[in-house]
Every structure is written in C-alpha cells, then in structure tokens.
Symmetry: none
DNA sequence: ACAGTATGAATGAACG
DNA sequence: CGTTCATTCATACTGT
C-alpha cells in the first residue's frame, strides 16, 4: 500500500476517532470532527462566502482543534455551497416526474422518492437561526433567490421535465447517445 | 459529517442475479447487471462526463431496471472515469519502469504488462463509434495530456488568501458570526 | 470467517 | 461559481 508518511505533510486528526474510522494520511487537510462541526454551524447560520478576514479568523480559531490553513476554510465553504446547490438541483430534477412542483397538498401518491426529499429538508431547516449580525455576507438567502435562475439555463435544451411528467412511459430502452 | 446523502432510500434490486450479485441490502445503490451493462456501453461509446440532462435521462431510463437516482449515474461515471485514468497511470508508470530497467539487459521478453496495455487500448479504440452527436465529452485523451500539470505540490500555497495575519490572538473560541 | 478487491459515495483541491 | 480531478472512506463481493 502506500505508507509514505515521512513527507512534509503532517496529519493531525488523531483526535480519538471512536468509530475507528480513517487511517488518516496526509497531504491534504483532514478536518477534525470539531472543525467540521463548527464550520457546519457557521454555514447553517447563514455564512456562505466569508470574506478574507472572516476566513482568517475562522481559520485561526479552528486551528485550536488541529492543523488548518485559511485556504482550507475557503475551499470548505466553496465546496459546501456548491454541493448544496448541486444536490438541490439534482434532487429537484429527480423528484420532478411526479410532484408537479407543489401539488397543492401532500398528495404525494407514490412514496418512492419521498425519503430523498425529506432528507434535504431536514438539512436545510434552520438556516435562520443565527441571522442576527452584519455578516457582510448579508442576505445570502436573498442573493440566492436572485441567483436562482441564472443557473438553470445551462443547457436550455433540456427542459422537458419541469411540470409535466407523463414521460415515465419510457420506451423500453433506447440508449443510443443521440437519444440522450 | 455530511451523511445526509448516505441513505438513498431503500433497496430494490431483487432482480434475479445469476452469479449472486443480488446483495440487496441497502444504504447504497447496488446496480443491476443490466444497469451496469448499459452504463458500460455508454462509457465505451465515448461518454465520460454526461451533462446534467444526460444524467437525468440515463437515470430515468435505467430506472426501468431498478431503483436508481441521478446521483448514482453521476458517481458511476465519475468513478469509472477516474479509475480508468488511475489504471492507465499506473500502467504507464509500470511500463516506463519496466522499459528503463530491462531495456539494457534484454529485449522485451517478459510480457505481463503488455496485455494490460493492450486491453484498454482496445477499450479506447472504439470511442469514435458513436460519436455522432454533441456529447460535449470528447477525446479524453487529448484533454488528459493537456491537464498534466502541478498535481504534486499540495503544500505550496498558491493561494490568494494567505497574506494576512497580524491581528488575532485567538480567544479560545468564540465563533458567533458577530465576532468574525 | 477473513483477506483482498471492486466499487459506491464523499470530499478536499483546483480549474475555466 | 459550476465542474472536474484526485484521494479517501465505506461497503458489497469473491475467493480461499
């Protein structure tokens, strides 16, 4: 395997993993559970795109829990934000083919996809919690709403899904690339 | 952590597996042989990085064979591509190694590695076959060559956010946003 | 039952 | 920012 440990990367993270997880090699930042916890909290408090100063501060504070650089914090937020959106995008597409976007009621006939949707909701719920300060990353929520359409137009070609969904009568199978 | 994604619902997949691949526990997607077959076919037809639409379509079509979400398709291609690359990298390294070592002493006689190389050359050769559409994922080989750069220096910070520091003698921990 | 492997999933890092 | 790459974690699978 690859037990090259003697390199300049140093690992921390030996912080007693209870569930015996990661072996933990280094070379890349491997956040402590505490670090992740804090970052997540900040994120859920509404912070999305921390300023340089904020990054510095967060990084400094988190260094208490283990090795960390500001770029790690930067990337973390970048990724977390991006993936939240990505996830949301994917799910809403997946869920599309039977929930006509708001169904007016929890009619949700087929429960098949139900769980997936639930999951995200619970993940998103508390965004408002700590919305009490001047973040300069203000109103992320607002901004996000505004930004909400620009993203969709990526491949304008593919919008068969949004509202209708009788397309579940898929022709048994035609997977020539052209048909995708 | 972010395990909100881990539970993708439940299992289906009872579709009689010949060689007993019908694991059928859940927690993670377990593709049907049919699903794998199709995915592989697409891959060999040249598809590497399907767009969101394509992912969606594929997913929908494959759902005919069993439960599947678009993220599964996404990951599948991600992984498949990565592993192909990985494999190739290893082999070419091995081969360099092999050549430089044995070249002087011997004519290429041992052959073990040859087959491996052959194998996916033949695997790649067919890329053009179905290249009749806008796949947007073209000729991975070329792209890969271009991409061949600084993958090494993980530590060197080419990072815009590094040059800042003076303040902050960290108070043990106060991460309320206001304090950032 | 266990070691080794194949592969789904997650995520840090970075590119365009 | 959205995407893509590399690496790692976790689990299903397979052979012994």
């Amino acid at each position: 395997m690859e037990m090259d440990e003697g390199l300049s990367g140093f690992c921390i993270k030996g912080s007693g993993k209870n569930n015996g997880s990661s072996g933990t090699k280094c070379g890349r930042w491997n956040p402590t559970t505490e670090q992740v916890r804090v970052l997540t909290e900040l994120f859920r408090s509404g912070l999305r795109t921390p300023s340089t100063d904020q990054i510095q501060n967060i990084s400094t504070q988190l260094s208490f829990y283990g090795k960390i650089e500001s770029k790690n914090v930067f990337y973390w937020f970048q990724n977390h934000k991006a993936r939240e959106r990505q996830k949301r995008r994917k799910v809403s597409i997946d869920e599309n083919d039977f929930i006509s976007r708001d169904n007016l009621n929890n009619k949700i006939s087929s429960s098949k996809r139900f769980f997936e949707v639930m999951e995200y909701q619970s993940d998103q719920r508390v965004i408002e919690t700590l919305q009490l300060f001047p973040l300069n990353s203000f109103d992320e929520n607002e901004q996000e709403k505004l930004r909400f359409h620009a993203n969709e137009c990526r491949e304008a070609s593919s919008f068969p899904y949004t509202i209708n969904s009788p397309e579940m009568d898929l022709p048994p199978l035609d997977l020539r690339l052209s048909s995708l």
